[in-house]
Structure formats: structure tokens, C-alpha cells
């Protein structure tokens, strides 16, 4: 098994699915000749030509809106938003059409499309290049939201997203694009959308994280586990529809839960997880659920961003507090 970065793994998924299914194409700003500003679509232009590796005009609503038309007409577009920070310009088409076409026509017209977008901070980028707003997309029923955390699941989930018959926002933690490698099987593999994954098993505490927060979370967990705690770690992978069963089963077992979220504290995915735990397993809780999150401030420029993203030390601290509660 080759060791790939997430960028390479995503590129692999696109390539294999484009080879397998002629109706798949990638589209977006600079995805063609340039191979995308992060090189996720690198080489597809050479292999599949400009009609399946489609450089579009600079317009995010345009990209999603035309992808909707293509999807209705039988293609499977994988559109790229250059950064999630520009994706809000497509929100009208997302809320108003992509997520509604199936229910509007009771399945006669559907939007099997993926919108890929790098999100999150930590790469010293300009304004609008660093925030995490997965919760915003999660407020729209009818659309899925998927966030991989490593090269292997990125590849498997992107394949699943392309094959999914519903519109998927696929948010890629850009901080993890190249920061580590993982073995990725040569054989195609997919993972089910809508299911979280238990990344570590344990009995004393459940930790839920996703995307770029998985790495610092696992580091922190290792550190605390080294001192004897048995910690279960759940990698959320799909934000919407949320797999509360996996989370609640774990919390029922452990009685304690910490959620690590890069996004601001309020109105984030962590809140929904807490609500699900409250719904189903509140009585098993032995401590308040802890949210380790960003703050409710406008995403700071990169001079300050490091202090604003939960670091390993803060996670360690939070795990200990919850274990000792």
C-alpha cells in the first residue's frame, strides 16, 4: 500500500472514479490546467481533457448552479470551491435548489453532485481562507456534509460521495492536506456516508472530533491514555446526517464526553452532538460534556490564529478535567 498525502488520496479517488464512470467530471476555478490551487485535481486535465476537467468562470453560484443542471441532465459533477470561505456565494443554489430538487419532484429530478471545499485554519492564509462553517451547511436538510480526517478515509469517502445520489458538501481540512501520509489501498474502497467511526476503543471517556481536529485529538488522547485512562475516540466523518447512534452507544458506555471542534463554540456541530446525547443517554452522564472549540469571534487573521484553534495542550487539559470530574 502506497503512503499518500490527503491531496494525493483525493486525487486518486477522482481519477479512479472518472475512469470508472464517464459521467463524472470535475469543475471549478483553476481545477483544469492548474490542477487546483492545492493540486487536488492535478493531472486530470491531461488524462480526461478540458470537458471533464472543466475550468469555469470565477463564480461560485455559477459553479453550483450549473452543476445542478448537469446533474439533472445525467452527469455527476464534482465541483470545487477554491476555499470554503467563498462557498457562501453559492448558498442560494444550495439551500434553494441542490438540497430541494429531490423532495420538490419526489425523486424525479435529483442532484447527484459533490461540492468539494478546503476549510479550516492553520496554514497562515489570508482572510476568508481559514474558517470552519460546517454547521452552516448542516442546517439544510436534503444535503449531506462529509469531512474526512486522513488520506485513507478521504479517498474512501470521496468515492462514496461521488456515487451518492444526493448532493454532498465535502469539506477538506486543508491543514491535513499535506501534513502527514497514510497507507491507502490500491484497490478502490468506499466508506458509508452517515456513519461515524470508532478510531480508538476505550471505556472511561468518549472523545468526538472530525477533520483537522482529529490529529491533535489523537495526540492528546495518546498522552492522557499513556497515564492509564481508557479513551474511546470517534471520528465523525459525516456531519449530516449525523450518526448519533455510534456516539450515544459510546457515551452510554463511558459516561463522559469531550467534543473537539475547530469552529466557534456556539451553534456548531458540537452543540448538536450534545443535544443528541441529551436526547438518548443523558442519564448515563457522569460529568458535563465538554466542548473544546474555537471562540465566538470573527476568524482572526493568521497572526493570531494559532491561539484560536484548540491546541493539543488544551485538549489534554480538557480530557483530564472531564476524566476527573
Amino acid at each position: 500500500m502506497p503512503k499518500l498525502t490527503m491531496v494525493q488520496a483525493l486525487n486518486l479517488a477522482l481519477r479512479e472514479e472518472m475512469e470508472r464512470d464517464e459521467s463524472v467530471l470535475v469543475m471549478g476555478e483553476d481545477v483544469g490546467i492548474d490542477g487546483g490551487v492545492f493540486r487536488v485535481t492535478d493531472g486530470l486535465h491531461e488524462q480526461f481533457g478540458p470537458q471533464r476537467s472543466l475550468d469555469t468562470p470565477l463564480a461560485e453560484s455559477g459553479i453550483l448552479g450549473t452543476a445542478i443542471g448537469m446533474a439533472i441532465a445525467g452527469l455527476r459533477p464534482v465541483a470545487e470551491m477554491q476555499f470554503s470561505g467563498f462557498s457562501y456565494l453559492m448558498m442560494g443554489q444550495w439551500e434553494g435548489n441542490a438540497t430541494r430538487m429531490r423532495s420538490r419532484t419526489q425523486g424525479q429530478h435529483t442532484c447527484p453532485l459533490v461540492v468539494r471545499m478546503p476549510y479550516g485554519g492553520g496554514v497562515r492564509a489570508l482572510e476568508h481562507h481559514s474558517e470552519s462553517r460546517e454547521a452552516m451547511y448542516a442546517t439544510c436538510p436534503g444535503g449531506k456534509v462529509v469531512i474526512p480526517s486522513g488520506p485513507r478515509n478521504a479517498r474512501a469517502l470521496l468515492l462514496a460521495a461521488i456515487r451518492d445520489d444526493d448532493p454532498v458538501v465535502f469539506m477538506e481540512p486543508k491543514h491535513s492536506y499535506r501534513s502527514f501520509r497514510e497507507e491507502v489501498p490500491e484497490e478502490s474502497e468506499t466508506m458509508p456516508i452517515g456513519q461515524a467511526q470508532v478510531a480508538r476503543e476505550g471505556d472511561d471517556l468518549t472523545v468526538v472530533a472530525w477533520g483537522a481536529m482529529m490529529r491533535p485529538t489523537l495526540k492528546a488522547v495518546d498522552e492522557v491514555a499513556a497515564k492509564g485512562a481508557s479513551i474511546e475516540v470517534i471520528d465523525l466523518l459525516t456531519i449530516n446526517p449525523l450518526d448519533s447512534d455510534t456516539i450515544c452507544a459510546s457515551v452510554q458506555k463511558t459516561g463522559r464526553c469531550v467534543i473537539v471542534q475547530e469552529a466557534p463554540r456556539s451553534f456548531g456541530v458540537a452543540s448538536e452532538i450534545i443535544a443528541r446525547i441529551n436526547d438518548d443517554v443523558l442519564l448515563y452522564l457522569e460529568a458535563p460534556i465538554k466542548r473544546l472549540t474555537g471562540y465566538d469571534v470573527v476568524t482572526p487573521y493568521f497572526g493570531r490564529e494559532k491561539s484560536y484553534i484548540p491546541p493539543v495542550s488544551r485538549i489534554v487539559h480538557g480530557l483530564r478535567e472531564t476524566l476527573e470530574f
Binding site: G65, T66, G69, Q93, D165
Partner: protein
């Protein structure tokens, strides 16, 4: 040549049939009697259903809707000009064209009675027709995308996309035309300039003299036609469809028409426009002039008119009966169309929903 002219453009106006039904013989399209009858029938059918829906709405028997009276020509002409494999992408005032493309009368009735089931069409109809679009101008992008997909197949499919004068202000209108232009997508954009976007008159919507000239921004062939003249609409749309099929890309047609009635049944035009203005436009409406044209041609008479009206009214009666005898569809259907595959969380909510319903019914 420091101040040199780089490019010149002009915008033309086309009319074939004047307000009194006189045809310009040089411009008259070569349509068979059957085709002319079909076009007229399509327009009258929309008018009849529209008028009936207005009554139904006033009686609380359907919900809010936006009448199309006075604007039957552009979409019916398009339907006549289109091939089976072409795509019809509408806004919300193309009843005539939709019906001609095969949408059953009950479609619009169910839709306006608050049921998604109204959008579920016979497969051969839905295949090449997108549902009613409420988000103004958003369909212009869908049309460009459908056009791209169609041109990939290379089977000469084209797309006709409707939007209104108000729609020209939205970013999506611009992006739709731009994408279609760059892709040379086979799309005919028809801008139904009915003079009003709810209460906002055309001249407050944009400072351009015509809407047609907005095509110049994309070097797109553009023309203004008399939108109450079904023949002019037909000629312009047919020419544009030909260009599209030849791979010459999209066109923009401004169809100058008038929304003779209220914006929707929730609107009161007295707040913002005069009855005189409306009266003036009633003189120019599309049905009468077409009838006169056919009569002069010797292919129409009072007997035919009466037979047509009687037939269509009966059809509308029947559709209304179907509407009113339709039992409500299952309340839980929305759960079945959130995603293609049910997710446990949705399935559980569906059960909860049914339990709640039962409890509320029992209460």
C-alpha cells in the same frame, strides 16, 4: 489610432404580427395549419386554466398563484419550436408552454394546492422539463448546466430557458449567460419583459434601454421581439434554436409583453400602476391578434373558436374535479425524499412523526 473603435453592436426589434393581426408577409414563418392551430390552442388552454385558477383561488380552493394571462405567446411559441429532446427550463409564468410540452393540467393545480405531487409528471414529460422555479433567475444556471451536459452528448439537444425582466438583475442571470457563453452551450434564454417585477417597473430594474442588449456583455446574439406576437416569438426562438444546434452557442431574446393581471393572487396592482396602462395593454394581448390572423388566413372561424373553448373548459372542469376528489397524499412522504437512501435518524423521526400524527388525530 489612439481612440479606435474596437467593436460595434446593435439591438433589433422584431414583430411579425401587428396588434390588429396583420402579418408582415416577408417575415411570416412557414407554419402549417396544424401548427398554427396547435399554437393557438396552447395559448387558449393556458388562458382558460389561468382564469379558472383565479376563481378557485378567490374561493379558497387553491393557494397563491401567479397568473400568466397576457404572456401566453413566448412559452407556447417555444414549445412549438422545440423538439422532443429539447429541454424546457421555466420560471413560474410559462403555463402555456408547460402544458404544450405535456404537463397535465392537474400538475399546476396540485402544485398550487400545496402538494409536491404536482411536480411529479409523466416520465416522458419530466424527462426534459424542469419544475417551476421560484428563486428568481436561479434556473438560468441550471439551463447552462443542462446545456453543457446536452452538448457533451452531441445529439443536437437544445435548452430554452425563461426568466423575467426582474430576473435580469440577479447575479444568477448574469452568471448563467456568462457560463453558457463560455461553454457555447445550446441555450436560448428568453427574457419575458412583462414590464413589472411585482411593483417595480422595468425602468427601475435596470438603466438599459432594452433587456436584449444585456446579451452584448457576452457577445451573444440578442434581439427584442414583440412578446405578444406569437409569430415573432416563434421566428426568433427557432432561429436561436438553430444556432444552438449548430454549435454556435446561446442567444438572448427579450420578449416584450405585459402581465395583464396581478403579480400573484396576493398582490394588488392598484397600489402601483394605473388601470389605463392595463387597458392599453389589453389592446395588444396575444390571443385576439392571433385569432384575427388565422381568420384572415381562412383557417379559423367562430365555430372553431367556440368548439375549442368548449372543449378546453370541459378539460379544465375535469382537472378541477380530479383536484377536488384527490384525497390528501400521505403526510409522511417528505421523509421519503430527504435522501435517496433512508438514514436511521430520518427513519426514526418518520416514526415519531407518525406517532405524533396519530396522537393529534386521537386528541
Amino acid at each position: 489610432m489612439p481612440r479606435k473603435t474596437l467593436a460595434e453592436f446593435k439591438v433589433e426589434h422584431l414583430r411579425v404580427l401587428d396588434e390588429n393581426g396583420h402579418v408582415d408577409p416577408e417575415l411570416e414563418p412557414d407554419l402549417s395549419t396544424e401548427q398554427l392551430h396547435a399554437l393557438y390552442r396552447g395559448m387558449v388552454r393556458a388562458r382558460e386554466l389561468d382564469q379558472r385558477m383565479l376563481n378557485l383561488q378567490r374561493q379558497g380552493r387553491i393557494g397563491t398563484f401567479g397568473p400568466c394571462t397576457g404572456q401566453e405567446a413566448p412559452s407556447c411559441s417555444a414549445a412549438l419550436a422545440m423538439k422532443d429532446d429539447d429541454w424546457f427550463v421555466g420560471a413560474f409564468r410559462e403555463l402555456g408552454g408547460r402544458l404544450m410540452r405535456g404537463e397535465p393540467l392537474t400538475g399546476t393545480l396540485f402544485f398550487h394546492n400545496g402538494w409536491e405531487e404536482g411536480n411529479v409528471l409523466p416520465p416522458e414529460v419530466s424527462r426534459r422539463m424542469l419544475p417551476f422555479t421560484i428563486i428568481v433567475a436561479s434556473q438560468c444556471l441550471h439551463a447552462a448546466g443542462v446545456g453543457f451536459a446536452a452538448s457533451q452528448r452531441g445529439q443536437g439537444e437544445a435548452v430554452v430557458c425563461f426568466s423575467g425582466d426582474g430576473a435580469t438583475s440577479e447575479g444568477d442571470f448574469h452568471e448563467g449567460l456568462n457560463f453558457a457563453g463560455v461553454w457555447k452551450a445550446p441555450v436560448v434564454f428568453v427574457s419575458q419583459n412583462n414590464q413589472w417585477a411585482i411593483s417595480v417597473p422595468r425602468e427601475m430594474q435596470t438603466s438599459s434601454q432594452t433587456l436584449a442588449q444585456k446579451g452584448i456583455a457576452y457577445d451573444m446574439p440578442c434581439i427584442q421581439v414583440d412578446g405578444n406576437d406569437a409569430l415573432a416569438c416563434y421566428v426568433a426562438i427557432s432561429e436561436a434554436l438553430e444556432r444552438a444546434r449548430r454549435g454556435e452557442g446561446p442567444s438572448l431574446i427579450e420578449a416584450v409583453t405585459y402581465r395583464l393581471l396581478m403579480h400573484t393572487t396576493a398582490d394588488d396592482p392598484r397600489k402601483y400602476r394605473t388601470e389605463d396602462e392595463e387597458k392599453e395593454w389589453w389592446q395588444k394581448e396575444p390571443l385576439i391578434r392571433f385569432q384575427k390572423y388565422m381568420t384572415a388566413k381562412g383557417i379559423w372561424d367562430d365555430a372553431k373558436e367556440e368548439a375549442l373553448r368548449t372543449e378546453l373548459r370541459a378539460e379544465v372542469d375535469e382537472a378541477v374535479q380530479t383536484l377536488e376528489s384527490q384525497k390528501p397524499w400521505p403526510a409522511e412522504r417528505p421523509f421519503d425524499h430527504v435522501f435517496a437512501e433512508p438514514h436511521p435518524s430520518i427513519t426514526r423521526q418518520r416514526e415519531e412523526f407518525l406517532a405524533n400524527l396519530k396522537e393529534e388525530a386521537d386528541a
